[in-house]
Structures are given as structure tokens and as C-alpha cells.
């Protein structure tokens, strides 16, 4: 399956069009980025249920909120930096506080945006969105998971932030996979350590797992696709069973998956956690692969955390 790479934004666009077929209440909003966020697929099929609000993300979030009060299920899309960042107050006060049924599906998260550089690489959105009461935060790792996530988030009543990527990544899960909000996915049972990853970094973690196994280091990988509510039980269980925890994300280490895992473990099972992510800095231009290496969120960085004995029991 590894030969086929699909960006989660592409899978999102396709899944959204399928969902639109099944559920006539689904409406989609975009802010002049529909060809990039892939909502254009829905727009082509259901023009009467697609609203291009133009380059005005704050207005888009408010319009989505208004549509939801009348029974529609709005999916609002733009780049993560404009969704969570520019329209934060609208998401907070007009969507989360009244607990409205708006699905914010933000693409182009993280440094893997690549060449566009720092202004377009959203590294704080997980932190901002998971701090909001009523919000569910989803960060899928591959095309299959994204497809299922679109379906599942349409079934829950309340605000959702789904974080998608520009970078095409290999497909991890097959069609038998069942997506369950709030449940992490464990791969392997190794007891030498646990890699907890989300989004585009899950594939890197699985590759690291294979290479470490070849060296006789057996780790397990947890794909945390739901950052909020986070799977506390699984995280605490793996910490108990493996002691070593490494988190990895295409996001700032401040407020993101690493922080969320530390919060869980501080209360449930205090242990040392190594956080891989962007270390309190902005991104920069470059190819996604170069940037993942530079910021230390790729396979190599993960492997080194288990080789250099920093996390020895």
C-alpha cells in the first residue's frame, strides 16, 4: 500500500462529497481556497449547498454558526492558520460557547505545508482548539482515517476541529478499519517504549518502529487521531507497560499532542516524556521532507530517541 500517497485534504474533499450525497443537511463553506482545501469536489456536485464566503474567514465562521442554528450541518474549510488563528474569537464566542454543530476542517497544518513558509505553517492550532470547551479535536493520519472521520464527526452534535495536511502521505489503514472518536490505535506490543504520534507523523512513527525492531528494540506506536477527548486509558496503560514515551507531531511542543500526553501522564502515571515537535519557533520555507528532518519530527529523529539511551528506564 505504501506506493500510493494521498494527502488527507484530498481524502477529506472526496469524503465530504460522499457525505453530501447521504445527508442533505450537510452544507460546505470555504474562504476562497476551495481548490486547495478540496471542498471544490463538493462544490461541483452540490453547488446549491456550497457557499464561497470569499477571503473573510471570520465571516465564514459566523455564517456557519448561523446555518447550524437552523439545522444545517456546516463544514467550514480554510487553511489552519486562518481558521484557528484569524477566526479564533469567532470560533470561541459564536461556535464553541453556544455549542453549535459546526465542523471546522482546516487544511495545510504544520511545517509540512512546505514552501509557503512560516506565515502559512500553523503550529499552534491544536493547543488553541483543545483549550476551547465543547470542542472535539481530530487529527487524522491517513486518507482512510480521514474518510471515516468525516462520516463520524457528522454524527456528533457539537463543534469539531479537524486538522488536515497538504503533504501526501502513504495509506496506513485498509478499508476494514473502523474509526472511533476518542480511541487511540495501538500498533505492536513492544515493551521497550511507546511512540505516540498524530497526523503526518504517524507514518514516520510506524517506519521508525520497523527499523528499531531490526535493531532489536521493540516499541509500540499509538496513533492519537483524537486529541480531544484524548484516550487517557491507552496512554496511561502504555506508559505503565513500556516506561519510555516519545511524542511526535507536526505542531509546536507547546500546547499540542506532547503537552496533552504530559497532562494525562502527570495525573495518571508520572514518567519521563520526550516531546518531538517544533520547539517554540516559527517554521520556514523548504520541502516538507527537509523541514521534517530539520525540525526533528521524522523517522530518523524518532529512532535516535531510542538509540541514545536518553530515555533509559
Amino acid at each position: 500500500m505504501e506506493d500510493k500517497k494521498i494527502a488527507t485534504r484530498q481524502s477529506y474533499g472526496e469524503a465530504l462529497a460522499q457525505l453530501g450525497e447521504k445527508n442533505k443537511n450537510v452544507v460546505v463553506l470555504d474562504a476562497d481556497l476551495s481548490t486547495a482545501t478540496k471542498t471544490c469536489i463538493f462544490a461541483k456536485r452540490f453547488p446549491e449547498r456550497f457557499f464561497d464566503i470569499g477571503i473573510s474567514e471570520q465571516d465564514m465562521m459566523g455564517t456557519a454558526a448561523g446555518l447550524s442554528t437552523s439545522g444545517k450541518i456546516p463544514f467550514a474549510s480554510t487553511f489552519a492558520v486562518f481558521a484557528a488563528g484569524r477566526a479564533y474569537d469567532q470560533i470561541r464566542n459564536s461556535i464553541c460557547y453556544p455549542n453549535l454543530n459546526v465542523k471546522i476542517c482546516a487544511t495545510h497544518a504544520g511545517v509540512t505545508v512546505g514552501e509557503d513558509g512560516a506565515t502559512h505553517q500553523m503550529l499552534e492550532d491544536i493547543g488553541m482548539m483543545r483549550a476551547l470547551p465543547n470542542m472535539t479535536v481530530i487529527s487524522p493520519s491517513d486518507a482512510t482515517q480521514t474518510k471515516w472521520a468525516v462520516e463520524e464527526i457528522s454524527k456528533i452534535n457539537g463543534p469539531v476541529y479537524m486538522r488536515l495536511s497538504r503533504l501526501a502521505v502513504p495509506i496506513i489503514y485498509d478499508d476494514n478499519y473502523k474509526f472511533e472518536i476518542g480511541k487511540g490505535i495501538q500498533t505492536g506490543k513492544g515493551t521497550d517504549g511507546t511512540i505516540i504520534a498524530t497526523g503526518v507523523c504517524v507514518y514516520e512513527a510506524l517506519e521508525a518502529q520497523k527499523e528499531l525492531a531490526a535493531e532489536g528494540i521493540n516499541v509500540r506506536v499509538i496513533d492519537i487521531h483524537t486529541i480531544k477527548p484524548i484516550d487517557k486509558e491507552l496512554i496511561a496503560k502504555c506508559a505503565k507497560e513500556t516506561q519510555k514515551i516519545v511524542t511526535v507531531e507536526d505542531h509546536s511542543i507547546v500546547g499540542g499532542l506532547g503537552s496533552a500526553v504530559c497532562e494525562v501522564l502527570a495525573e495518571e502515571y508520572p514518567c519521563k516524556v520526550e516531546r518531538l515537535g517544533i520547539k517554540d519557533s516559527f517554521g520556514k520555507s523548504g520541502k516538507p521532507v527537509e523541514l521534517m528532518e530539520y525540525y526533528g519530527i521524522d523517522k530518523k529523529a524518532i529512532i535516535s530517541k531510542f538509540q541514545n539511551k536518553m530515555l533509559d528506564k
Partner: protein, 272 residues
């Protein structure tokens, strides 16, 4: 029940003003100035124009109102209480720990509140969404949104105005409570808006200019808006901040402070 007699509506507006004073006095804080300026507009909306039922506040297909200037919650609460959405006694619990009447409107706590609000500049976008949904369902609802004049310094209002125009939301009616005062002084002193009417006209709105404290002019404006097809309407309502209480009228200081006991008694005397 639609009330059409001017005098009857004026009496209701007085009751709403008394409710505002009662609530803000009981709370010891709040925003009486802008609440009093829009009391006549809310009277006409809830007692003459809107298709709503206090016994069934969430009825599908009802007309909706968004108080974008959420700090004027006392006006909305007093209106809803007067209409029978909840007991008037509740007004005394404004801003209280055990009460339902939050400092700014909460749609999940207060019967009859169609949208939570408080952070300025967001209401017109919400109203657009409601109006779009109504058009998709051919539900024939009318959607009303009240903004303050200072509030339209927020950029989102103009983003939203372009959206109202793009989708030709003729089921949407925006009202600007043009009382010409904001916290730091007059609109001109803080950041002048020049001609509000011309601004909305250039954004594609049907514009109507009225005395927003005159019941008959308000009714006529809403009827004109109702008959206007193919474009949204903006009613620029010239009002007096603090209207109805002599010592509060046209004084920026009454934007956000509660009356003392003496002032409270004086205000009620004037309103009876």
C-alpha cells in the same frame, strides 16, 4: 398577537425601559445607555413584526433576532420578559450567580434568545447564516440583526455585509442603533463613520433612515424592508442613548454603569 396601536406599543416600550432599569439596578452593573436607545426597536420587533411564540420559543420556521451588540442584553431580556418568554421577576437576577440572565445573551440558558453574543461585530454573519438556511428551505422566515454604531468599526461587519449582498438576502434586515456614542466618547471622536447610510448603500443594501425612537417610523421601515426584494435592508435608526431617562440621555458615561438607589428611583418616576 400583533399589536398595532401606537399608544399601546409606546406603553410596552415604557415597560421595557422600566425592566432595563430594574435589571441593571438589581445587578449593580450593566449597560443601560444602549439598552434604552434600542427599546423602541425591540418593542416593534417583538410586539408588531416578528412571528414568534413565547410558549414555543424554539419553534421551527419562526422569525429570528440576533442582538449583535450583546452588551445591551438588558433590553433583550426586558423585551422577552414583557412578551412572556419568562417571568419578569427574573430580571432582578440579571448577572447573578444563580440566575439564567448572563451579562451577555446565552441562547442555551434564556428562552427566546436566538443566538449567544457579546464579542462585537459577529452578529451580522450569524444572521446571514440564518437567512441562507431559511432561503434553502423556502421557510419564509425573516431574520433581524441589531448592531450598534460603534460596533460597525469592527471589520467583520463589512465582511458580512458583502455576504448579505452576494446572496441577495432580502429576508434579512439589519438595524443600526445610531445613538452616536461609544465608551470613549462620540463616534466622531473615536473613529468617525462619516455617512453610515452611504456606506451600506454602497455595499448593496436597501437603506432606510429613521428616527429610531419613533414607533410609527420603525413600523414603516420594517414594512418597507419586508416588501423589498432582491437585496438586504439596513435601517439606520437615529436614536438617543439613554432615551427615556433624562439624566442618562446622550451621556457616554451611562454606557456601562448602574444607577444608584436615588438615580434608580428618579428613573422609574420618569418612566411611569
Amino acid at each position: 398577537m400583533k399589536i398595532t396601536h401606537t399608544e399601546a406599543l409606546e406603553k410596552i416600550a415604557k415597560n421595557i425601559r422600566m425592566g432595563i432599569i430594574e435589571a441593571v439596578y438589581s445587578a449593580g452593573s450593566g449597560h443601560p445607555g444602549g439598552s434604552l436607545s434600542c427599546a423602541d426597536i425591540l418593542t416593534v420587533l417583538y410586539f408588531n413584526q416578528m412571528n414568534i411564540d413565547p410558549k414555543n420559543p424554539n419553534a421551527e420556521g419562526r422569525d429570528k433576532f440576533v442582538l449583535s451588540k450583546g452588551h445591551c442584553a438588558p433590553a433583550l431580556y426586558a423585551t422577552l420578559a414583557e412578551k412572556g418568554f419568562f417571568n419578569k421577576e427574573e430580571l432582578k437576577n440579571l448577572r447573578k450567580f444563580d440566575g439564567i440572565l448572563q451579562g451577555h445573551p446565552d441562547m442555551n440558558k434564556v428562552p427566546g434568545v436566538d443566538m449567544s453574543s457579546g464579542s462585537l461585530g459577529q452578529g451580522l454573519s450569524i444572521a446571514n447564516g440564518m437567512a441562507l438556511a431559511s432561503k434553502m428551505e423556502s421557510a419564509g422566515q425573516r431574520i433581524y440583526c441589531l448592531v450598534g454604531d460603534g460596533e460597525i468599526q469592527e471589520g467583520q461587519i463589512w465582511e458580512a455585509a458583502m455576504t448579505s449582498n452576494k446572496y441577495k438576502l432580502d429576508n434579512l434586515c439589519l438595524i443600526v442603533d445610531n445613538n452616536n456614542l461609544q465608551i470613549d466618547g462620540t463616534i466622531e471622536e473615536v473613529k468617525g463613520l462619516d455617512c453610515i447610510v452611504a456606506k451600506f448603500a454602497s455595499f448593496g443594501f436597501n437603506t432606510i433612515q429613521i428616527d429610531g425612537n419613533n414607533i410609527n417610523q420603525i413600523i414603516d421601515a420594517f414594512e418597507t424592508a419586508r416588501c423589498t426584494k432582491g437585496k438586504p435592508t439596513a435601517i439606520i435608526a437615529k436614536t438617543i442613548k439613554g432615551k427615556g431617562v433624562s439624566f442618562m440621555e446622550n451621556k457616554a458615561e451611562w454606557h456601562g454603569r448602574a444607577p444608584s438607589q436615588e438615580e434608580y428611583e428618579q428613573a422609574l418616576k420618569e418612566l411611569v
